[in-house]
Amino acid sequence: MAGLVVEWLGRVPYAEALALQERCAEDRRAGRVPDRILLLEHQPVVTLGRGAREENLLRSRAELRARGIEVFAIARGGDVTWHGPGQLVGYPILDLAARGRRDVHRYLRELEAALREALARLGVAAGTLAGTTGVFAGGGAGRPRKLASIGVGVRGWVTRHGFALNVDPDLSGFDSIVPCGLSHVEMTSVARELGPARPPDLWERSRDAVAVALLRRFG
C-alpha cells in the first residue's frame, strides 16, 4: 500500500505503545496498511536497547520503580535512554523493502537528516557526530550536546521504535542513566538551545516541524 501517514497520538503509556507498534508492524508486513509514523509522548520511562550495559543504569530498577519510572528492555539497537514529558518520540513503522531501501544504515542517516531539517526550521543548528548515531547541537565549546537519540528495530524490513527529540523535557530525567552509554556527551533540548529566542508554542511548532520534515523525507 503506498503513501505515508503521520499521526500524533498524545501521551501514551509505554507498554501500550509497544503493543501498538507490534500490531502496526504486523499490519504493514501483511500489506494491510501504508507506512505510518507514530508521534507521541511518554510518562517517565527508561528503555534498554540490545546494546545496553548494566553500568549505564545509574539507579537500580527498584529505585526507579520507587520513583514511578518503569524500565523496559526492547528489541532496538543502542544503549539505554530515557523518555518523558516534553520529549517528542517518533516510531516510524516503514516497510523498507517496499520502498526499495533495504539498507538499515541509510535509514538511520535519513532519520538524522529529517530531524536536522526540522531543527533547522525551529532555528537550531544541528548536526551529527562521526562515529555515532544521533543529532547534536552545533557550535560552541565544551562537550557535544545531544538533542535527539535514535534506536531502531527491524523485522522483515519493517521498522519499529525510532527516535526521541528533546523539545523541552526536564533534562534531570537523564540523571538516572548514562544516556546511550556516552559519558562524554551532555543532553540538551530545543528549548535550552534557543534560550530567550524560544517561542511560547514551541511544543506545537516542534511537532509540526518534525511531521513536515518526516513527510518530506519519507512521503
Binding site: 546494546g51 539497537g77 544504515h105 544541528a126 565549546a141 531502531v152 527491524v154
Partner: protein, 431 residues
C-alpha cells in the same frame, strides 16, 4: 550431514558486519520457516534474522556478543522432511535473504550447493553460477564466492589464476594495496588498484593523519561543487606598513611580521560584509554563522593540520599575528588540543613561496570557502599616474578563492574576493 546455513544477511550497502545480540531459539528446538531465530545489531539497528528453512536448530555457531561479517554463518538448521521445504518452492519470502524469484532451490534434505543470498547476488550481477568455484564445504557457493568471481571477471584475470590479496605469502610481487581478509567489496576493483610492485619501488604506508586528510579531501570534493576565482593583489601598501613596523613588532612580540596576518585581517573584515562565505550547507538550508573562527592551514612534518583562531573578528592585526604564530608553532611541535582543530568557519592556506603562482585549495568541510595565498613576485603593472597610464614595478600576489557553488554564487564570491583586494591595497591597518 545435510544442514542449511543461517547467514548474517546483507542489511545495507555500507553494512559490513553485525553483532549477535540475542538468540531467540535454543539449540535442539524446532523452528518454522521464517520464524525469527536471532537478533543482530549493527550501529543503532536491531534486526531479526528469520529461519531460512523449517526444521531443528542444529548448531549455534556465533555466540551473543560476537561480531561477524555479512555472509558469515550464524547457525545451522537440520531441515525437516520434504513437506516443509526450503524457500524457493513457496511464495517469495519477506526476509533479508530472499531467494531470487523463479529460481528452483535445492530439494529439501540436501545441502544447497548455492546459498540463497549467493543466488540473489549472482542473478543481480549476471554471474553464471556454474562458473563460480565454491569455497564452502562440498564446494558450496556463498555470496563471497560470487562477489570474488565477479571482481576477478571484471579485472580481466582468469579466476583460477587470481591470487586473493593478503592470502599470498612469501616473495614479491604482491598486490600494492593488500586488503584485510573479509567480505568481498560490493563493487569490482578498478584494474589500476592491482598494481604489481616492482623491485626498487618504495612503499610508504600512509600515516593515520595522512589517511584522515586523504579521506577528507575525497569527501570534500564529493560534497561541494568547487568553483575557483583568482584576484591579483598589489601588496605594495601592505609591504610599506610592514616595513615601517617591522623592527618595533619584532621587539614587542619576539617574532617577525609576515604578510599572512594582513591577509587574515582583510579576510575577516570581508567575511563580515559577505556572510554567505562564512556559512555551511545543512540539508536544504544555508546556515550563515554568527561566529567567525578562522582556520589557518599549516604544513607540519606529519602532514596538513588546520588550527583555528577562534573569534578572529575580535582580534586586532597584532592579535591575529600572535594567535597565528602561536598556533603554527604548537602545530609543528604537536601541542595542539583537539578543540583547537575544530569549529572553523573559513580557512586560509599559505602553502609557500616558490612554484606557487596560485592554486585552488580544497574546501575544509563543512565550510563553503577557502582562500589560498600565492607567492609575492615583483611584476610590471599599469598604474595611473597624474591621469596617465604608466608602468610601475609592484609586488604582486595572486589570491585564489575556492567556493562551494551550492551556497555561493559567482557574484558574491567575486565581490568577496574583490573586497579583500581593496582592503589589502588600501592598506589601512592599525599597528
Amino acid at each position: 550431514m545435510a544442514t542449511v546455513a543461517v547467514e548474517l544477511p546483507a542489511l545495507g550497502e555500507s553494512v559490513v558486519e553485525g553483532t549477535v545480540s540475542r538468540w531467540l531459539v535454543k539449540e535442539g528446538e524446532r523452528v518454522e520457516l521464517d520464524q525469527p531465530l536471532v537478533e543482530v545489531t549493527t550501529d543503532k539497528v536491531d534486526a531479526e534474522v528469520p529461519a531460512p528453512a523449517a526444521g531443528v536448530l542444529a548448531k549455534i555457531l556465533v555466540a551473543e556478543g560476537e561480531t561477524v561479517p555479512v555472509g558469515a554463518e550464524l547457525a545451522r538448521i537440520e531441515p525437516a522432511a520434504a513437506a516443509a521445504g526450503t524457500r524457493g518452492a513457496a511464495a517469495p519470502a519477506r526476509d533479508p535473504a530472499e531467494t531470487a524469484q523463479g529460481e528452483v532451490a535445492a530439494p529439501a534434505g540436501e545441502t544447497p550447493r548455492v546459498t540463497p543470498v549467493a543466488r540473489r547476488v549472482a542473478k543481480q550481477s549476471r554471474v553464471d553460477l556454474r562458473e563460480v568455484e565454491g569455497s564452502g564445504p562440498g564446494g558450496r557457493v556463498s555470496k563471497r564466492d560470487v562477489l570474488r568471481h565477479r571482481e576477478e571477471r571484471s579485472a580481466g584475470t582468469p579466476p583460477a589464476a587470481a591470487e586473493r590479496p593478503a592470502a599470498a605469502a612469501g616473495a614479491a610481487p604482491t598486490p600494492l594495496a593488500p586488503r584485510p581478509e573479509g567480505p568481498a567489496p560490493a563493487r569490482p576493483r578498478p584494474a589500476f588498484l592491482d598494481y604489481q610492485l616492482q623491485p626498487g619501488d618504495r612503499v610508504i604506508p600512509m600515516t593515520p593523519l595522512r589517511r584522515l586528510v586523504a579521506e577528507h579531501m575525497v569527501l570534500s570534493k564529493r560534497t561541494s561543487p568547487h568553483v575557483g576565482t583568482v584576484a591579483e593583489i598589489d601588496m605594495g601598501g601592505v609591504a610599506r606598513v610592514r616595513a615601517a613596523h617591522k623592527r618595533a613588532f619584532q621587539e614587542a612580540h619576539g617574532f617577525g611580521l609576515s604578510f599572512l596576518p594582513f591577509v587574515v585581517h582583510a579576510t575577516v573584515r570581508a567575511l563580515r560584509e559577505y556572510p554567505r562565505l562564512n556559512a555551511s550547507v545543512l540539508e536544504d538550508s544555508i546556515v550563515e554563522k554568527k561566529d567567525l573562527h578562522m582556520g589557518i592551514a599549516v604544513e607540519t612534518e606529519k602532514g596538513l593540520v588546520v588550527p583555528v583562531v577562534r573569534h578572529a573578528d575580535r582580534l586586532s592585526l597584532a592579535g591575529l599575528a600572535q594567535a597565528v604564530e602561536d598556533l603554527a608553532n604548537r602545530a609543528r611541535s604537536k601541542k595542539l588540543s583537539p578543540d583547537e582543530l575544530k569549529g572553523g568557519t573559513f580557512t586560509i592556506s599559505n602553502p609557500g613561496r616558490e612554484g606557487n603562482l596560485y592554486g585552488f585549495a580544497i574546501i575544509n568541510q563543512p565550510q563553503v570557502g577557502i582562500l589560498r595565498m600565492g607567492e609575492v613576485v615583483k611584476r610590471p603593472v599599469v598604474r595611473g599616474l597624474d591621469g596617465e597610464d604608466a608602468i610601475a614595478i609592484r609586488p604582486i600576489m595572486h589570491l585564489a578563492l575556492s567556493y562551494d557553488h551550492r551556497a555561493v554564487d559567482g557574484g558574491p564570491a567575486n565581490g568577496f574576493l574583490h573586497r579583500i583586494r581593496e582592503l589589502l591595497e588600501e592598506a589601512e591597518f592599525d599597528l
